[in-house]
């Protein structure tokens, strides 16, 4: 059996190698047109040059401030999502404290505290506190997810990671509680520190520890005479008290040890603590080794990404762009905020293609684009429904320029520049209309809704549904602009029967590109709901195939 130090060193080596591998992957990123013909060396050179420029510019001060606020304090999260922030801070800093003051206590503790002893207060208490903080953070994270407004699919990896942290912390707490109970450890300690020459003394001390320190009592129950307890306390004072505080301060593991007591009596001759210690240790080493290969790598990637953004144009030269995109892919924490603000998220309710949602598109891009020469029709559909409105970029707490990412990947996804046809794939269940908005916002009945229209036909020109049709009049009856004009002419009935309403994918392109801010998509959406309410759902009722 290799020594724990060897194992830990191997895990650390794997971790470092993994980080290096990740960084090399950034440098080899194939994402975006700029990546063509860019050698590894040139990219590395560009990256180093950008670093040099940044370090020599006045911007470095701003970047320092930004990294303090954004990466260390997660300021952006605090402003917008206080609960999310709380969960993040609890897990992150609780765990960090455990790593520094507990996992690495041999090295780090003496730096901070001359008299560090892990079994003494306040360290005993603090360790429990940190574990409690991490667990509370995990709880908040789980509960918050249950209440997320938009149900986005969760990757298995996410759950695994939450689980891994939970296992690590819980195993630590259980380990501590078994250590409190363990008579074997007690015996070893007595031999090491007291020199067990007098069985009476040992028995006295053991009695005292069983009564006051929570250790399992000796197996042969004897009645402890009055004086023995006093002798035990004396022995404790002289041999143990320097290193051992009363374990009641361990407010997680001590109560747990009371619960585990009956089980430990049965297992008193087994080294349960050693099993648990191995579990705890292996879990920690495994987590360390897996760090660069899991979502937790965002601990490294996200600060880098935020810094690269703060660096501005210096870090945005064409040679750096592919690298930044790969970095961005790693910086994603899959928090789902982007999908909550995505302007085409409503389409996901109609077309169950998860890559419509930015939070799901990103992992798909990561999977798809980082492996060369792959084509993915599902991803292509999702990509082209995106209107590049940029809202995801704006909300991303990791500072990822998602808009750029979509733009860069889109070019490669559409062979021949032709967008895959959104909304017309066989999977699209258009037979069930979407009635999620209030039936009528009253937009379509208000004349001023249509005042601003200058008849430029942009709404029709940009419509992906119109573009996908070889004969829109035949396929859709009316184009968006024609519907707007019928509404303006107060011929609502003529508009309500048309198929365009049902084929509209509510991508909002029409509305976004309207030069005069006419709410084209909102109106179409409203009309669809009105038509459905009126039972005029000509398309679905006829079971029209799409």
């Amino acid at each position: 059996m290799p020594s724990p130090n060897t194992i830990a060193s191997i895990a650390l080596a794997i971790c470092l190698a993994g980080v290096l591998w990740r960084i090399c992957r950034w440098l080899r990123s194939p994402i975006g047109l700029e990546s063509e013909g860019l050698s590894f060396g040139r990219r590395l050179g560009a990256a180093l040059q950008a670093c040099r420029k940044v370090l020599c510019s006045r911007r470095i001060f701003r970047m320092a401030a930004a990294s303090l606020w954004e990466t260390l304090l997660l300021g952006h999260l605090l402003q917008r999502h206080p609960w999310r922030w709380a969960a993040h801070m609890a897990v992150c800093y609780g765990f960090l404290a455990l790593v520094v003051f507990h996992a690495l206590d041999d090295w780090s503790a003496p730096l901070f505290f001359a008299d560090y002893v892990p079994t003494r207060n306040p360290f005993l208490w603090l360790r429990n506190l940190m574990a409690a903080v991490v667990l509370a953070g995990l709880l908040v994270a789980v509960l918050r997810r249950r209440q997320a407004p938009l149900k986005i699919p969760r990757a298995r990896g996410d759950r695994f990671l939450l689980l891994a942290v939970a296992v690590l912390v819980i195993s630590g707490v259980v380990l501590e509680s078994t250590q409190i109970l363990s008579p074997v450890i007690f015996q070893e300690m007595v031999e090491d520190y007291m020199g067990a020459d007098d069985p009476g003394d040992v028995a006295a001390l053991q009695s005292y520890w069983a009564a006051e320190m929570g250790t399992l009592p000796p197996s042969h129950d004897t009645i402890v005479p009055e004086g023995v307890m006093a002798a035990g306390r004396e022995l404790h004072e002289s041999y143990c008290a320097d290193c051992h505080s009363r374990p009641q301060a361990a407010f997680l593991s001590y109560p747990l040890s009371r619960l585990l007591k009956p089980a430990m009596i049965a297992l008193r001759d087994h080294r349960v603590d050693l099993w648990l210690w191995r579990l705890h240790f292996w879990a920690a080493c495994l987590a360390l080794a897996c760090l660069p290969f899991s979502k937790f790598f965002h601990l490294v990637a996200t600060p880098f990404n935020l810094l690269a953004r703060t660096a501005g144009p210096v870090a945005a030269t064409p040679a750096l762009q592919p690298m930044r995109r790969a970095l961005a892919l790693d910086a994603c924490t899959h928090c789902g905020i982007c999908s909550q603000h995505c302007s085409v998220a409503p389409i996901y309710r109609v077309i169950p293609n998860p890559t419509i949602l930015p939070s799901e598109k990103l992992p798909a891009v990561k999977h798809d684009r980082m492996s060369p020469h792959s084509t993915n029709e599902v991803l292509a559909e999702g990509s082209f429904i995106c209107t590049l409105c940029g809202r995801c970029t704006q909300w991303c707490p990791s500072g990822i320029d998602l808009q750029d990412l979509w733009q860069a990947t889109r070019n490669d996804l559409a062979p021949g520049g032709r967008a895959p046809i959104p909304g017309r794939s066989a999977a699209a269940p258009l037979s069930s209309p979407v009635v999620t908005a209030p039936v009528s916002l009253g937009l379509s009945d208000r004349p001023e809704t249509f005042w601003a229209c200058v008849q430029c036909t942009t709404c029709t020109s940009v419509c992906p549904v119109v573009a996908a049709s070889d004969d829109p009049r035949g396929d859709l009856d009316l184009t968006p602009q024609q519907i707007m004009n019928l509404m303006r002419l107060q011929l609502k009935d003529q508009a309500l029967g048309c198929r365009m309403l049902w084929d509209c994918v509510t991508c909002y392109k029409c509305q976004e590109h309207c030069p005069q801010d006419v709410k084209v998509a909102d109106i179409l959406y409203e009309l669809r709901n009105i038509a459905w309410q009126q039972g005029r759902s000509e398309g679905p009722a006829n079971g029209r195939s799409v």
Partner: protein, 526 residues
């Protein structure tokens, strides 16, 4: 050329007279210097008066209006939207006038049902909260283009000849009679001499000019009235201000829009009149007292017409001059012409009556004793006129669902097939289907874009049909857009200004239409 009766002027009176006479079996020829309804017949509210507006100023005309109102609703229902109307007074209006209103209506035989302000606001929610009195009357909306085109269509079926773009350039008289009338087509430049037994001057605001050619002075005052077309229809009924007739006090719904007017401004000539900025502002401010939304809504265009007021003096308010018509038989006047009759003044509502009275006089001159039939024969609906109706083209287009039938005008949703029909109908009349002629006979160019897009789409289509050749299209485009401009120019603010900027950016910035040599004078070319 020879004919029994030469009618000068293709407005609603002239076309109504042509129908009346041909129904009596009298042959006639109608000459019009521009196109149908180019004058006041096209420049009005399209209001079929109940008569209540004139109870104070001209009770006789008011009663006449009411009778014709009922008659036309029966005989020409397809030209009329029987909306009903309201008269409303707002706080601050002359209370004596309000108090006298029901009695005066009763005197003229005009029904006016009193309403409480609450009832009125329930009927028309757009009305101001400051309404103090309201009456329901028999007003209705009427389409003057449809009316004239249908009158003309039946007249032509019965043998009436038509010369458009033909201006009277001279009238030769001898011994108290008109011998020949010289007419010049300003598109072809060809002059024609016309001999007629009777010549009727129905030139409206130009009646004075025509009479002057025959050496007869008629004193006409020109009163310009400007109106505004709203972007969308406001309310279901005609809404009048219950006060002495003045500016900005009538709002008439017409299809998908409403028309707000008018002003009364003296002008020196019936030619080259424009609605002006201050008139527009005045109408809006006045109208907004009655209907507050009028202050903020989008307007599509403004237009104006000239009321020809025949009077003996220059004094007094133009509004107080009788709106009754003037039928002048010059045989009985001095200087006299025995076969010359002038009919002028009057209102759209009473056009049929004016035509009837004129035809009676003509028949007396011709010793022709057929009775009038226009008061009992319904006015037939024709294809020629149907496309001026808002909402018809889009409804049919949606129903037909023919993917080859492309919309040329997006705002009013006018497809190619409608243009085909209009081109055919104009060609049947030996006319040239110019952009403006098609605009007059359809809704093309009448929507919010005011020709930004439909003008060139129509021009391209007309080239494809072979209806335009050489660089004709450039000149017709300019004329078409200039004609729309006349109506846009005074109300360019807010979104309309943005629309106009787009129009100019495309037609001037990109296409350079302003650099095309100015078109030859005249409205159209062959």
């Amino acid at each position: 050329m020879e004919t029994q009766v030469l009618i000068i002027g293709g407005g609603v009176t002239g076309t109504g007279l042509a129908r009346d006479l041909t129904l009596r079996g009298v042959a006639c020829l109608l000459v019009e210097k521009q196109d149908i309804n180019a004058g006041a017949s096209g420049g009005n509210h399209g209001l079929l008066h109940s008569g209540a507006r004139y109870i104070a100023s001209d009770p006789a005309a008011a009663a006449e209006c009411h009778r014709e109102n009922l008659l036309l609703k029966q005989l020409a229902p397809h030209c009329i939207e029987d909306t009903g109307g309201l008269f409303v007074a707002v706080a601050g209006d002359d209370e004596n006038y309000v108090a006298d209103f029901p009695a005066k209506c009763a005197v003229c035989g005009i029904p006016a049902r009193p309403l409480t302000p609450t009832e009125a606001r329930q009927m028309e929610p757009a009305l101001s909260k400051d309404i103090i009195a309201a009456y329901a009357v028999d007003d209705a909306a009427i389409d003057p283009f449809k009316l004239s085109l249908d009158n003309l269509a039946q007249a032509r079926q019965n043998g009436c000849q038509l010369m458009r773009f033909s201006q009277v350039t001279g009238i030769a008289t001898r011994s108290g009679r008109i011998q020949t009338v010289q007419v010049r087509n300003h598109l072809t430049g060809r002059a024609t001499d016309i001999r007629a037994d009777v010549v009727v001057n129905a030139a409206g605001a130009w009646a004075g000019q025509v009479a002057a050619l025959a050496g007869i002075p008629i004193h006409i005052r020109y009163s310009k009235g400007s109106l505004l077309v709203t972007h969308h229809r406001i309310g279901g009924r005609v809404i009048n201000r219950l006060r002495k007739a003045t500016d900005g006090d009538i709002l008439v719904p017409g299809g998908t829009v409403s028309i707000l007017g008018t002003t009364s401004e003296r002008c020196t000539s019936p030619d080259d009149i424009h609605p002006k900025v201050h008139e527009v502002d005045h109408i809006i401010d006045e109208g907004a007292a009655m209907i507050p939304a009028l202050a903020t809504i989008r307007y599509i265009r403004a237009y104006c017409g000239v009321r020809p007021l025949i009077s003996s003096s220059d004094e007094g308010d133009d509004r107080s001059v009788s709106r009754g018509y003037a039928l002048i038989d010059h045989a009985t006047e001095d200087p006299g012409l025995e076969n010359f009759i002038t009919i002028s003044g009057g209102k759209l509502t009473t056009f049929r009556l004016m035509a009837e009275k004129t035809a009676d006089r003509v028949c007396r001159r011709l010793s022709h004793c057929s009775p009038c039939r226009t008061h009992c024969d319904p006015l037939p609906q024709t294809v020629d006129a149907r496309w001026t109706e808002p909402g018809l083209a889009p409804s049919l287009w949606v129903q037909n669902n023919d993917s080859r039938d492309i919309l040329l005008c997006e705002c009013e949703m006018v497809p190619q097939s409608v243009v085909d029909q209009i081109v055919q109908s104009i060609r049947n009349q030996n006319g040239h289907p110019s952009l403006n002629a098609i605009g007059l006979r359809s809704r093309i160019g009448k929507g919010p874009c005011q020709g930004t897009f439909c003008s060139q789409r129509l021009a391209a289509y007309l080239y494809d049909l072979g209806a335009l050749t050489h660089d004709q299209g450039l000149h017709e485009l300019r004329q078409f857009l200039e004609k729309r401009w006349r109506g846009q120019q005074p109300l360019l603010w807010d979104i309309s200004l943005a629309q106009a900027e787009l129009l100019e950016a495309m037609h001037s910035g990109l296409f350079g239409l302003e650099q095309v040599d100015a078109p030859p004078p005249g409205d159209d070319r062959p």
